[in-house]
């Protein structure tokens, strides 16, 4: 790609890539460019120094508009728009509006010299944080934004409509006050013509599409800005006017119903249904804040409503930690324990039926087929045990501990071992059908589908082999893949210790997308309603759109989430090392309830008939009625 480099005769110094002014360039013998603050479209903003004040460093912001339009009418129009911004700013005087010092043109560029504001814009603030901004702060900014709107809308001789309220146009200065920047919208819309486009940033009111600009439009955009700040959901990534599809309080429980109501009033589709003036919106904001005490005192701990309608039906005590996961079949719950036993319990009552003693801890999930239970143990073996009696049917030896859960497919058991192999064993007799070598221990549980076996390994390799064990493709993550894959519509999903959730095309192993989390993960993703849910060692349960890698929500537990979530209807169930089992709303990620145990929960629960079963490191198996 050829880059345009402009020759600027009146400027001392050089222009660099994409024609931006380089530090050291002086404009008009007065403004020394120190660096770039931002660039986009046809304009760039620089940090500069006013050399007319040689004894002090007077900083200025220099906004440069480069006019590349070849068409003379277009060229004229762009210059006029820029001049309009200069003229407008020159007539305004308000603490939240930057002062203008100078305006000039040279060559194909025009320049505005303005007050330099030390601080960050709200979009940058959102980008640099990953938790919700404090509601009281947002409300404080909102009130200040109303104040400057009141000033603009009551300006004489004519009201000024800002027209471009959005987080990136609001700066928070070093004193914590808001400053409006960029009065340069004045975009000319030409509706009606075939194929005409109009500009929007996702914050614009519906009537702006018709070319109307009025004070209620600014109120709408302020509502949109507040919605974005409080939900962290960027409206530019969503269809226009879809704020109601993302209810604020479902996303951010810290927002009061009163505040939510103010924002949705501002976001009314019909301008008549919004606040008539910025003044009335300001009053509503202050009232809502007063009701909930936001403006009076820093808010207390967020109030999370606990569902009390979860109750323990039974629990069963074993002799050591339960790190594995249960499986349910024909009224019996099977679960392995670090006391070396595989337990069979009555699912309704928790009554003990039988146990089978292996010679090592059982960190896996058993599998049941017909009348046989299969389970791997750290004693290096896979066991087939009668489901009725708990009697041994056969044993299969690997050469290292088994930490991968078995998958059953057409009479064969597929599982990995720390002996660096995927093993395939005939379910009827325990004889090896074949095994496939991996580069490191295989702790990921294999996925068997479409005559392919997919599994990860501790070296970070992810393999796809056919039913003879021949490699079809291999993918390499940066760290171990302990997580077990799931496949939906030809895409394989799994997590890795390299902090990433991967989506791979199943035929060739090509990366479709990836999603980066805050820490490594060994949790396996669950799929429901087009979403993936996965736990992470950073303590979060993440929900990500399966079609692309957009985060839908995340929920923070108080410790690592190493177990895997499951989904039943619209509920996500997931345990945490903080000791609690959580139930979350699938659509919003909001907590429905949590149930504390006395030890970390690192296994995956199972649910049937509204009863949730799981083991905890407090040595107990729990059955909760949800």
């Amino acid at each position: 790609m050829r880059r345009n480099t402009r020759a600027l005769e009146n400027k001392q110094g050089e222009t660099g890539q994409l024609g931006q002014l380089q530090p050291g360039v002086t404009l008009q013998d007065r403004y020394l460019i120190l660096g770039i603050l931002g660039a986009g479209g046809m304009s760039s903003v620089y940090k500069g120094r006013d050399l007319h004040f040689p004894n002090v460093t007077k900083l200025v912001a220099v906004k440069e508009m480069i006019n590349l339009a070849a068409d003379p009418t277009m060229y004229e129009m762009i210059v006029r728009n820029f001049e309009r911004e200069a003229d407008l700013l020159a007539t305004l005087s308000h603490p939240a509006i930057p002062r203008i010092y100078d305006y000039f043109s040279q060559e194909t560029s025009s320049y505005l010299v303005m007050e330099f504001i030390e601080g960050r814009d709200l979009e940058a603030l959102l980008r640099e944080t990953d938790t919700f901004l404090p509601t009281d702060k947002v409300v404080g900014w909102a009130v200040e934004l109303c104040d400057v709107m009141i000033y603009l809308h009551n300006h004489q001789p004519q009201p000024v409509v800002f027209r471009d309220m959005k987080p990136s146009n609001v700066m928070i200065d070093q004193h914590g006050h808001i400053r409006l920047i960029d009065f340069g919208i004045a975009r000319v819309f030409q509706p009606g013509l075939k194929g005409t486009m109009i500009g929007t940033e996702g914050y614009s009111p519906p009537e702006q599409y018709r070319g109307e600009a009025s004070p209620p439009g600014d109120i709408y955009a302020l509502g949109a800005t507040l919605h974005h700040l409080l939900t962290r959901r960027d409206p530019r990534a969503e269809p226009p006017f879809s704020f109601n599809d993302r209810p604020i309080r479902e996303i951010n429980a810290d927002v009061s119903a009163e505040l939510e109501q103010v924002i949705y009033t501002a976001l009314s589709y019909d301008p008549k249904d919004r606040y008539a003036t910025a003044d009335s919106m300001r009053m509503a904001l202050v009232t809502a804040a007063r009701q909930t005490g936001i403006l009076v005192s820093p808010q207390g701990a967020p109030t999370v409503r606990m569902h009390s309608d979860v109750q323990e039906i039974w629990s069963f005590e074993c002799e050591d930690e339960l790190r594995g996961s249960p499986v349910l079949d024909a009224g019996l719950l099977y679960i392995g324990c670090y006391d070396n036993n595989l337990y069979a319990l009555d699912a309704k009552s928790g009554a003990f039926r039988w146990k089978y003693a292996t010679e090592g801890g059982i960190p896996t999930r058993p599998a049941v087929d017909g009348n046989t239970v299969y389970v791997g143990s750290e004693d290096q073996r896979l066991y087939a045990v009668s489901a009725d009696s708990g009697k041994l049917i056969w044993t299969y030896y690997t050469e290292a501990p088994v930490r991968s859960s078995p998958a059953i497919f057409e009479g064969f058991i597929f599982f990995g071992s720390d002996d660096n192999h995927l093993h395939v064993v005939n379910a009827a007799n325990g004889r090896r059908a074949w095994r496939a070598e991996a580069a490191a221990p295989v702790r990921s549980s294999p996925l068997v589908a479409d005559e392919r076996v997919y599994f990860g390994c501790e070296s970070g390799d992810f393999y796809c082999v056919d039913f003879r064990g021949e490699l079809k493709w291999r993918f390499k993550a940066k760290r171990a893949i302990t997580s077990s894959p799931v496949m939906v519509e030809g895409v394989i999903y799994f997590g890795s210790m390299d902090w990433t959730l991967y989506a791979l095309e199943s035929e060739g192993g090509w990366q479709i997308w990836r999603y980066r989390m805050g820490k490594p993960t060994i949790s396996s993703p669950a799929y429901a309603e087009g979403k993936l849910i996965i736990g992470c060692a950073d303590g979060n349960v993440y929900c990500v759109d399966a079609r692309n890698n957009r985060e839908v929500w995340r929920f923070a537990t108080e410790h690592q989430v190493n177990g895997s979530p499951i989904v039943q209807e619209d509920s996500v169930y997931c345990g945490s090392v903080d000791g609690s089992m959580y139930c979350l709303d699938l659509r919003s990620g909001r907590k429905r309830w949590s149930y504390p145990t006395k030890g970390p929960i690192v296994g995956t629960p199972v649910i049937a008939n509204s009863i949730l079963y799981f083991g905890s490191n407090d040595h107990r198996v729990y059955a909760l009625l949800t």
Partner: protein, 294 residues
């Protein structure tokens, strides 16, 4: 970039497994794999017409696809694109052409070489490549074609997956017998008003602003691109088209033509003819991708 070298490496890219997956078929019941069906190959048809009322063509179209027979080195892959330019002074056709070229160049360069070089976490994911390609096109149009803009819908076919990059109101259809779906969402104001219940479907069809888009290439520095991946089922057909086609020819008719036509090329020609027969007020572009077994 030496794409051909990557597509046809001298030696096999990688021997099976790290040290060669050791296979020991001890159990006779699992010995031989079932005979796998013949590979699916992509067959492409393209047709374009400026329409009856227009003299010049602002639509751009691109199709790049590859088939490698014999050794199972690669599956068929393809990059297909439709862009519908807009704006006065011929800036529409410049915008769609620049965008089509930029996106195709970017994707053939990085996506195809990533495909052929192997799979690892260091390679950029396909969806990121698609998004970057459209953002790059946007940047160029914003800088070079003030007042111009374009829709753009690009499909990258790889294995079983269609990965789409999309802005504007051109469309991607997945057509299966008795099941036709639009995979893209029109970024048009009227469509949005219809979704909100502010307009009925009939009002939307005749609305004077039905061509106004809320998202397109060339609108501003920030472009939000819709990127999604979908299963390309065996027997499915992928149609990319500009609104010059779908705005004039009803979906059931599109489905009928595509399902009944003998070849992909004939289908595209019939689609364009149907749009012209309905008045042809706009440029018409259709790209159809079929999967044939051989």
């Amino acid at each position: 970039m030496d794409l051909l070298k990557k597509l046809f490496p001298k030696s096999k890219p990688r021997p099976a497994s790290t040290e060669g997956a050791k296979t020991a078929p001890l159990d006779p019941s699992l010995a031989g794999p079932p005979p796998s069906p013949p590979a699916l190959h992509l067959v492409v048809g393209i047709a374009q017409s400026p329409g009856i009322e227009r003299t010049h063509n602002e639509d751009a179209v691109m199709a790049v696809h590859g088939t490698i027979g014999g050794l199972e080195l690669l599956q068929d892959f393809g990059i297909f694109l439709v862009a519908d330019g807009m704006g006065g002074h011929r800036s529409g056709e410049v915008a769609s052409a620049i965008s089509a070229r930029t996106v195709t160049a970017r994707l053939t360069d990085s996506a195809l070489s990533a495909m052929t070089e192997g799979n690892d976490a260091y390679a950029e994911p396909l969806q990121d490549l698609v998004r970057d390609a459209l953002e790059e096109a946007n940047q160029l149009v914003v800088e070079r074609v003030p007042g111009g803009g374009t829709t753009l819908t690009v499909a990258v076919l790889l294995g079983q997956q269609i990965t789409l990059g999309h802005v504007g109101d051109s469309r991607a259809y997945l057509i299966e017998p008795r099941n036709t779906r639009v995979l893209t969402r029109d970024h048009s104001l009227v469509k949005r008003l219809e979704e909100l219940g502010q307009l009925t479907a009939e009002e939307a069809d005749t609305h004077p602003q039905r061509n106004v888009l809320y998202r397109a290439i060339g609108q501003g520095a920030n472009l939000e691109v819709d990127v999604t991946s979908h299963l390309f089922p065996a027997g499915g057909q992928l149609l990319l088209c500009s609104d010059g086609l779908w705005g004039l020819v009803p979906d059931p008719e599109i489905e009928r033509i595509v399902t009944e036509a003998a070849t992909a090329q004939i289908a595209c020609e019939q689609l364009v003819a149907a749009a012209n027969a309905a008045g042809g007020p706009d440029n018409i572009t259709a790209v159809l991708v079929r999967q044939n077994r051989n």
